[in-house]
Amino acid sequence: MKISRRQATDRSVQIFFLVVALVSITSLLLIGLFLFAEGLPVLKFTSLKDFLFGSLWYPTDDDPLFGILPLIAGSACVTLLSSIISVPLGIMTAIYIAEIAGKRTAEIVKPFVEILASLPSVVIGLFGLMVFGPFLQKVFNVPVGINLFNASLMLAFMAVPTICSISEDAIHSVPKSLREASLALGATKLETIFKIVLPAAASGIATAVILGMSRAIGETMVVLMVAGGAAIVPHSLFDPVRPMPASIASEMAEAPFRSTHYHALFAIGIVLFVFTLLFNLTADVLANRFQKKQLGG
């Protein structure tokens, strides 16, 4: 009798944990659901094509226009430009920590990366706005210091820790025997890193890059404070831009509840959500492939 009661408890506890474990995925579904519920009504006012590919974003005019192409272009530009900086920087730092630095040096360097990851985005935004913006203005002699380049650089340093720590894990999980075999054949340490370790860790590093880019595309405060805010397709590094998160963050307060503008901002949220979900899906597929390869090897 006693044993069966214990087993019954055990069973119900397991079911309880299972139900709780579903909270995360339920939240994700709810986020999607509410974005679509509040965002789709914008299509009553404008067609999907005009919304996504319209090049004019004048949401508050008497005859408002809701084309988010400039916002998408802004997001794409800051994400790409920041990746050009953060990807090499993140991967090289990961190689340094995992392959070159001694154990003690690594133990000192790693907290630096972790603290960099924990810097609140609003503080980085403040730095870009107050310190780096004026610096850019002076050095490059440009009219405004808050622009595409400034935002990309600030975003890059927010993405570096993500890229670095995930790449480092991938490099660490490459079996030692592979390195030893390569070194024993007379390859230098550098040749071993480039020809053996990095190819073996490639899909793990790809995951890191994608998650880093996903972080950059979704980051809000930095692009809100230092991207410049002009809803135009940029033509130069020093043009101001208005990425999608910045538009949502700065306009929601002035958009009347459930007006077309309000729905349009939610619809931008859908675009962002779908983008990051795709990034994550790709990262997930790559990570699983990496794991399988590791298990197989």
């Binding site: 939240s27 519920a37 609140p120 550098l190 040749e191």
Partner: protein, 302 residues
């Protein structure tokens, strides 16, 4: 014969030359990698330097304990500190039980398979959702549908959902670090799985789980975008007395001062002062968690 020796000598010297070039190349690249690492450290130090050097002057007892006055040009940031504390603590109150239970399920109960992959994908995707999208979700769900309005409760819940993946990840790492022999010993003595989990596994993992909680607290305290539309206001003369009050918060205060404040010469020091308080809070919590975790790991390894 003589020719042969000369040729051999030439070959060896060529190989030696090539080896030298290979080693030089290695030195060059290693220095490049070192430089990349230094750039990151420098970035952190530069941001830290500016915030500390410009903010330290405005830190005083009054700054930490007084509300703002004279339309935000004087006074302190006490309501923001309290608001941030409430928001982060509320987020943790929500995320901690759910996060720990989820991690226990994932690590102790779930079997490999499609279902587990689906749950993991959900958690990873939730971790990747942009913070502003959490803000939209909070506005549409907590503020509007559940009718909480712009309030402490709505903000804390929004931050809580966002913190969930952090807690789950940290707790899973904590559970992983508990040796399997602990579980086997308990099960071998006839304990059920649940008894093993709450009497053996969780007590052994609790210090590291709490470290994860600190990380989550830091994350929630530093975020701005999720509370933009759900909880934060630029100024409110009273401290929150109920869950349905609006609050001031440190990160939002920095943003608002930086973008709405007209007189930068006057509000500048206040911004840096607030930023310094926020950095000390958030990075301090993180550093604390990192140090504790490293110590715990070393202990477990011994």
């Amino acid at each position: 014969m003589g020719d042969n020796t000369v040729m051999k000598q030439q070959q060896t010297s060529q190989i030696a030359k090539r080896l030298k070039r290979r080693q030089m190349l290695q030195g060059l690249f290693f220095n490049l990698f070192r430089l990349a690492t230094l750039i990151n450290a420098a970035a952190l130090l530069i941001v830290g330097y500016f915030v500390i050097s410009r903010g330290a002057g405005s830190i005083s007892w009054d700054f930490l304990t007084q509300p703002p006055s004279d339309s935000m040009t004087k006074g302190g940031i006490m309501p923001c500190i309290i608001g941030t504390f409430y928001l982060a603590a509320g987020a943790l109150l929500f995320a901690m039980p759910i996060g720990v239970a989820t991690a226990v399920y994932l690590h102790e109960y779930a079997r490999r398979g499609r279902f587990l992959r689906m749950i993991r994908f959900g958690i990873n995707s939730l971790a990747g959702v942009p913070s502003i999208v959490f803000g939209l979700f909070g506005l549409a769900f907590f503020c509007t549908v559940l009718n909480f309005g712009v309030s402490l409760l709505a903000g804390a819940l929004t931050l809580g959902v966002m913190t969930l993946p952090v807690i789950i990840g940290a707790t899973e790492e904590a559970l992983k670090a508990v040796p399997d022999t602990y579980r086997e010993a308990s099960l071998g003595l006839g304990a059920t799985k649940w008894q093993t989990i709450y009497r053996v596994v969780i007590p052994a993992a609790i210090p590291e789980i709490l470290t994860g909680a600190i990380l989550g607290l830091g994350r929630a305290a530093g975020e701005t975008a999720p509370i933009l539309f759900t909880a934060a206001v630029f100024f409110t003369p009273v401290l929150p007395t109920s869950l349905f009050d609006e609050v001031m918060a440190l990160p939002y205060h920095i943003y608002a001062l930086a973008t709405e404040g007209r007189n930068i010469a006057v509000t500048g020091p206040l911004q840096y002062g607030t930023a310094l308080v926020l950095i000390v809070l958030v990075c301090g919590m993180n550093l604390f968690a990192i140090i504790i975790r490293a110590r715990l790991r070393r202990k477990l390894q011994e």
